[in-house]
């Protein structure tokens, strides 16, 4: 027997401990014997799934899976791209994939060595490797039988039970966790009501979840982050080890304790740098002022580089290293900012967070490590200061919706404290624009727009400002929705951005002696809401916002207003719209005012219909035209 076989032997021995044994499965290759309730609307059908997590000790766990599923039609194509992740920490040990046609004949087989591999991550270091295979499907249904084993060198993140995806139906699916008796397992079912059967196996306990005959559900656009979107069960061990560092995750406090140990001693700067920062903030008194100066220094002199070094993405480089290199990842830069603030006597804490506009806040009652980002918090008696340290453009103290509206875990000397980050407000994302249009008798003209923006709009406008001219022009047309200008100028003037656009034809179109003008010279709103009105999942916009437009159109002599859109006002608990149009005869100017507000970015599923209808109304108003006639 070669040495290579030994790991498998161990693997077999572990399995003698199991609470359930795999029973022989009958597979219906032509799907004929499957119940219609399961088949209806399914593009993928899991005929049998057995997933197992066997924890041997804190530093060793094995995940194995046998999954037999049929892809019914082209809609299920994505399930034929099989991709498995492997890192130094989670090692893909073995894989065997067989493909069967409708008659049950095996048409292809792949082993790990047959798979393509691709490094992932933009960063400097191997973050891991995807092994993947694109299973050929000359016709449907096609059935895939895949078995694989992943070895875990730690237990901070146990694989959970991910039950099914949109369009997928389940005939039978089992998930077993085998945990040594001395360890405490916590679990949490999401989007499904399911409980495990617990068996005492002597040295270990078995937890078995079973699901049978689940029909498929529909994909809903704009829903909560993937992690929390579908039926699944999270597993957490109260004690864990991560890259050899043992810790406790029974409470947020204990997890923060573990994290804080990883940061010990890393936030110290050499004396000359301490002096440098002291000198830099000389003359400022408040924490806020000092932090503002140092934050500006950080933004001008440091840059974000993805380097997930050290232990599994949780331990940063030292502040001294970051100081020498002037680059770092989110942990490194936040830790550096903390060190620099410490040098001038301002106390701050690293805050670990799950970053994404549609992520759910971490649950105070269920500590689990689902974080992917680090920011910095400077505690204040009122309104603590939060800093995003990876951005060269973010405004001081403004987080944005990727990290607002949720809970961050502050890493303090006394352990972790889960605290809410600021709530997003509409006013923090504002787009205020004033357009002056001078129309000539030949329909040509100039548009002068001046705009002030904050938050997400400011990011967008700042981005466009820095673009090259032709890219800028494309952004003006495709992103902002102006007509194609013949010439233009875009420039920043203090807090304002001025946009001058020259057009051969200002109107949308002309027919006979009439010209038809848009109520404002760009598209204020274009997004069409997802069609499903009766959603099951909440809907997330990127951010709440205020959009205020005032437009003046000066008509040339000999032109008269034939028709103006009607003023409108409509609203609901989440959004408001109001518009007004009038013609000032004395200076031959048409005035148009539109205000659109989205008050919160998170829309509960039950109210989605309301919000959808609201924005459909807005789109209709966008199609209104001002009709002007040559007298």
């Amino acid at each position: 027997m070669s040495l290579k076989r030994i790991p498998n032997l161990i693997f077999l021995m572990i399995f003698t401990l199991l609470g359930v044994t795999a029973d022989a499965q009958t597979v219906s290759y032509d799907l004929s014997s499957l119940p219609d309730s399961v088949k209806k609307d399914a593009s993928v059908i899991t005929q049998y799934d057995l997933q197992r997590v066997v924890v041997e000790d804190l530093e060793k766990a094995t995940y194995s899976r046998k999954h037999i599923y049929s892809v019914v039609n082209e809609d299920g194509r994505r399930s034929l791209l099989v991709a498995l992740f492997s890192t130094k920490y989670i090692n893909l040990d073995e894989m065997d994939l067989k493909v069967f046609d409708k008659s049950g004949k095996q048409t292809a087989r792949f082993k790990k060595k047959d798979m393509m591999m691709q490094a992932t991550g933009e960063g400097l270091i191997d973050e891991g490797t995807y092994y993947y295979v694109d299973v050929p499907a000359p016709s449907y249904p096609v059935t895939v039988e895949i078995e694989y084993v992943q070895k875990f060198k730690g237990t901070l993140k146990l694989p959970g039970y991910e039950i099914l995806n949109p369009g997928e139906a389940i005939v039978e699916s089992l998930f077993e966790a085998v945990i040594p008796s001395g360890l405490v397992l916590r679990y949490r079912a999401k989007n499904i009501d399911i409980k495990p059967v617990i068996k005492d196996l002597g040295k270990a306990k078995s937890y078995l979840w079973t699901t049978r005959n689940l029909p498929p559900f529909e994909y809903e656009e704009g829903a909560v982050n993937q992690i929390d979107r579908y039926p699944s069960v999270d597993l957490v061990l109260n004690n864990f080890s991560h890259y050899g560092y043992p810790g406790e995750l029974s409470s947020w406090q204990s997890f923060g304790q573990w994290l804080s140990k990883l940061y010990v001693g890393l936030d110290e700067l050499p004396q000359d740098r301490v002096n440098f920062f002291k000198d830099l903030v000389k003359g400022s008194n408040s924490d806020r002022e000092k932090a503002q100066i140092i934050y500006k220094y950080l933004q001008d002199n440091f840059r974000y580089v993805s380097i997930q070094l050290g232990i599994g993405g949780v331990k940063p480089f030292s502040a001294t290293f970051t100081d020498q290199k002037k680059y770092g990842d989110c942990k490194g830069l936040s830790n550096y900012m903390k060190a620099a603030l410490g040098a001038v006597g301002v106390r701050s804490h690293i805050a670990i967070i799950n970053s994404e506009y549609n992520s759910l806040p971490a649950d105070p009652a269920f500590p689990i490590h689902n974080f992917n980002h680090a920011i910095l918090c400077i505690p204040q008696p009122e309104d603590s200061i939060w800093l995003e340290c990876t951005s060269n453009i973010a405004e001081f103290g403004v987080l944005g919706t990727n990290t607002e509206n949720r809970n961050a875990l502050l890493v303090t000397e006394n352990g972790g404290i889960l605290v809410p980050t600021p709530k997003s407000t509409a006013e923090a994302n504002s787009f205020l624009i004033h357009n002056k249009i001078e129309l000539s008798a030949d329909a040509s003209g100039m548009i002068e727009s001046s705009l002030r923006s904050t938050g997400a709009f400011k990011d967008m406008i700042d981005y466009i400002l820095k673009e090259k001219r032709d890219d800028q022009k494309e952004s003006i047309v495709f992103t902002l929705g102006f007509k194609q200008p013949d010439d233009f100028l875009m420039a920043k003037e203090k807090e304002k951005v001025n946009l001058k656009l020259q057009f051969e034809k200002i109107p949308e179109f002309t027919a006979g002696n009439k010209i038809f003008l848009a109520p404002h010279p760009y598209k204020l709103w274009t997004r069409v809401m997802p069609k499903n009105e009766n959603r099951k999942l909440d809907f997330y916009f990127r951010n709440p916002f205020v959009h205020l437009d005032t437009t003046q159109i000066k008509l040339p002599d000999g032109f008269l207003v034939d028709a103006l859109p009607k003023p409108r006002e409509f609203n609901n608990a989440y959004a408001t719209y109001r518009s007004n149009y009038w013609f000032d005869e004395s200076n031959k100017t048409i005035h148009s005012v539109v205000e659109l507000k989205l008050l919160q970015h998170h829309i509960p599923a039950v109210d989605f219909k309301l919000v959808k209808q609201f924005f459909e109304e807005v789109l209709k108003e966008e199609k209104q035209r001002i009709v002007v006639k040559k007298s």
């Binding site: 039609n73 082209e74 809609d75 194509r77 393509m116 591999m117 691709q118 490094a119 400097l124 270091i125 191997d126 490797t129 050929p136 000359p138 001008d300 002199n301 840059r303 580089v305 380097i307 020498q324 290199k325 002037k326 680059y327 060269n392 453009i393 820095k466 090259k468 001219r469 032709d470 890219d471 022009k473 494309e474 047309v477 495709f478 194609q484 013949d486 034809k505 949308e508 179109f509 002309t510 027919a511 006979g512 002696n513 009439k514 038809f516 274009t526 069409v528 034939d562 028709a563 103006l564 859109p565 459909e616 789109l619 209709k620 199609k623 209104q624 035209r625 001002i626 009709v627």
Partner: protein
């Protein structure tokens, strides 16, 4: 797969002298930066650039016992925050080629300190990482310390075993000076072909038994990403190199250049190409039966084409060779593009058709240079990445690809349109040679016929029939077969809540060449202001947004095929409504008549009849023509977006 006519050229030679360094005053040495460059805030010849390459210097040398080594140095100036990413360096090398390695990486950052002194910060060797990308490729990865706007970064390295490479003077960011030196023993003669749209300098220097040729370009603006480009690299300034001759021990020069005749002869005699054309493909009785049913040559060709497509799966490898032999591929029912199409040619010939292999280079692979047949070491066939079947029936040429499933037999495959192909045949037949893969009558053609009835409540019910012919059919058919849902999302994505699609049905979805017809019925609540309603007839045409907004252009515009669109139909009004003045009838044509649009509208009582035709008579629009083209496109989309106005009649 790279094949040479003679593999072991360098093994035959004895080389003693090490590569020499070429000095050039234009190129500052590593480590010496000008203060002025550190104070620079803008690139003078490309003022919008976020960063610029101050120096790119490569020296390719043949070194005894090591092979071909590239010593390369790059110096970059960071001009804006957006340019900071340029400080992350990824140097790729092949791991499947065991002789390749990247060594001696040295990198450092330059900044000015407050007193105006140049400060150098080195990249720590420990912070240079090896990263495996996949089974064949790895990279050296590192990032520079102390980088901010204004910094200069510089790195150099040796890439051993790299082989002969083309040198790109142009990049996405501007280049102040770029030099490529080829340093070879004097018994090797290089043939270097510059593809440069700007001025370049060439120098040659002999020292001892070596010759160094250097090519230098200055002030090359960055290359912007543009849509509708046949192949970006074809438009970038570059140098292509080959070895054209070497001196034998006897002192006589041995010419390495070859001509296309030699290439063709070699191919015809090669085991993996020409010999494969004479293989009898076994077990084709089912094909014989099918062929017995059809009489004319075109049908025979079509039958064989379909048969190969049905029976052979493409393994996604390009190439012109049948390395495992056509018989083996046939047995596995799977093969490279080369294997499949050599099988196709075989079967076509066996059926008595005039079929020959034609070497092609897909748009993605690059433009073919028909004037360069290459050398013994790198023969001209390396320019091609596919072989197709070239069939002549009654004077008409057909180009068939058996490795691709959708293109009908009568159409030239899309990915080689307007390229040069090389037909391969025995020399003595005289039937070999160059062909342009193009037929002006095979177009991207689409007809939209609308029939609408406006109802009293201001809604319009429309039946629209879209007929997609040839290349437009090809563009749509694959997605239509995948499912109605995807098709609707892609081609009928509606960004208008007023518009509701009532039904979509397809005709000829499963036909292999008939026009693909889409019947759409939709109801639209017509937008209106006051007594006016506005109706657009530009629906589901794919002509809603002008893609040519940019004022400048670096690469020719390429559409693939000639195009023709017709939007026509009638719309009827109910009682109480009338047509207001309709947009004027017009015809607009490019000065060289290459594009034209005609619009005719006519109202008679309650009926509007309209007809818009757009015709493109050529697929290419050169950079020189872009000004007129850009203006024409602006007007074109203005016309397409004009709407018909309906007026509520005043109540008596």
């Amino acid at each position: 797969m790279r094949k040479s006519l003679l593999f072991l050229l360098f093994a035959l030679l004895v080389i003693h002298i090490k590569a020499q360094k070429v000095k050039d005053t234009e190129i500052p040495p590593f480590g010496t930066v000008d203060k002025a460059d550190l104070e620079l805030t803008q690139c003078s010849f490309d003022p919008e650039a976020e960063a610029m390459i101050l120096v790119e210097d490569g020296e390719l040398a043949y070194i005894d016992g090591i092979g071909i080594v590239l010593e390369k140095r790059v110096r970059i100036k960071i001009l804006k925050k957006e340019g900071l990413d340029r400080a992350d360096i990824h140097l790729r090398y092949s791991t499947s080629d065991k002789d390749q390695s990247i060594r001696d990486v040295v990198a450092q950052t330059y900044n000015l300190d407050p007193s105006g002194k140049v400060v150098i910060t080195k990249v720590d060797k420990k912070q240079i990482f090896d990263k495996s990308i996949n089974k064949r490729v790895a990279e050296k990865v590192f990032t520079f310390p102390e980088v901010k706007v204004g910094s200069i970064i510089e790195y150099k390295y040796k890439h051993n075993g790299i082989g002969l490479i083309n040198w790109y003077f142009q990049h996405s960011i501007p280049v102040k000076v770029s030099r490529y030196v080829l340093d070879f023993p004097d018994y090797i003669q290089m043939r270097n072909t510059p593809f440069c749209s700007r001025k370049y300098e060439r120098k040659e220097e002999s020292k001892g038994a070596r010759v160094a040729q250097s090519y230098l370009m200055k002030e090359i603006p960055g290359f912007r990403n543009e849509s509708n480009v046949i192949n970006e690299e074809a438009y970038m300034d570059r140098l292509e190199t080959t070895i054209s001759a070497y001196k034998e021990a006897s002192g006589l020069w041995k010419n390495r250049n070859i001509n296309w005749l030699q290439v063709i002869r070699f191919l015809m005699e090669d085991e993996d190409f020409g010999i494969q054309l004479k293989r009898d493909i076994p077990r084709t009785t089912d094909l014989d039966l099918e062929l017995a049913q059809v009489k004319d040559d075109y049908s025979r060709m079509k039958t064989i084409h379909a048969y190969v497509r049905k029976n052979m799966a493409w393994n996604e490898y390009y190439g012109i060779w049948a390395l495992d032999g056509v018989k083996a591929a046939w047995k596995d029912k799977k093969g490279t593009a080369g294997e499949i199409n050599l099988i196709l040619v075989n079967l076509l010939r066996n059926a008595g058709l005039d079929a020959k292999p034609v070497l092609v280079s897909t748009h993605e692979n690059g433009m073919v240079n028909a004037t360069d047949a290459g050398t013994y070491d790198y023969p001209g066939f390396n320019q091609f990445n596919k072989v197709l079947a070239h069939v002549t029936i009654g004077g008409k040429v057909y180009v068939l690809d058996g490795s691709e499933k959708e293109t009908p037999t009568h159409l030239i495959p899309r990915d080689v349109l307007m390229t040069e192909g090389l037909v391969i045949e025995k020399i003595d037949t005289g039937e070999w040679g160059w062909v342009t893969l193009w037929d002006p009558n095979e177009t991207y053609k689409e007809v939209f016929v609308l029939n609408g009835h406006v109802e009293a409540d201001g809604k319009v019910k429309v039946k629209e029939d879209i007929t997609s012919i040839d290349y437009s059919r090809l563009r749509k058919i694959e997605l239509a077969r995948k499912g109605e849902k995807e098709f609707k999302e892609r081609f009928m994505g509606v960004d208008d809540p007023n518009l509701q699609i009532d039904s979509v049905t397809f005709d000829n979805k499963d036909s292999d060449s008939l026009p693909f017809v889409q019947h759409i019925q939709f109801t639209e609540t017509i937008n209106g202001t006051g007594d006016y309603l506005f109706l657009s007839v530009n629906k589901f045409t794919g002509l809603e947004k002008n893609p040519f907004i940019a004022d400048t252009r670096q690469a020719d515009v390429f559409f693939g095929a000639n195009q023709s669109y017709l939007i026509t139909g009638n719309v009827f009004l109910p009682e109480g409504y009338e047509w207001d003045a309709v947009p004027k009838n017009l015809r607009m044509i490019m000065p060289d008549t290459s594009i034209s649009i005609t619009r005719i509208s006519q109202v008679s009582n309650d009926r509007l009849s309209m007809r818009i035709t757009i015709d493109f008579k050529k697929p290419f629009f050169s950079v020189q023509e872009y000004g007129a083209f850009h203006e024409f496109y602006k007007q074109l989309f203005d016309i397409l977006n004009e709407q018909y106005v309906i007026k509520k009649k005043a109540r008596p």
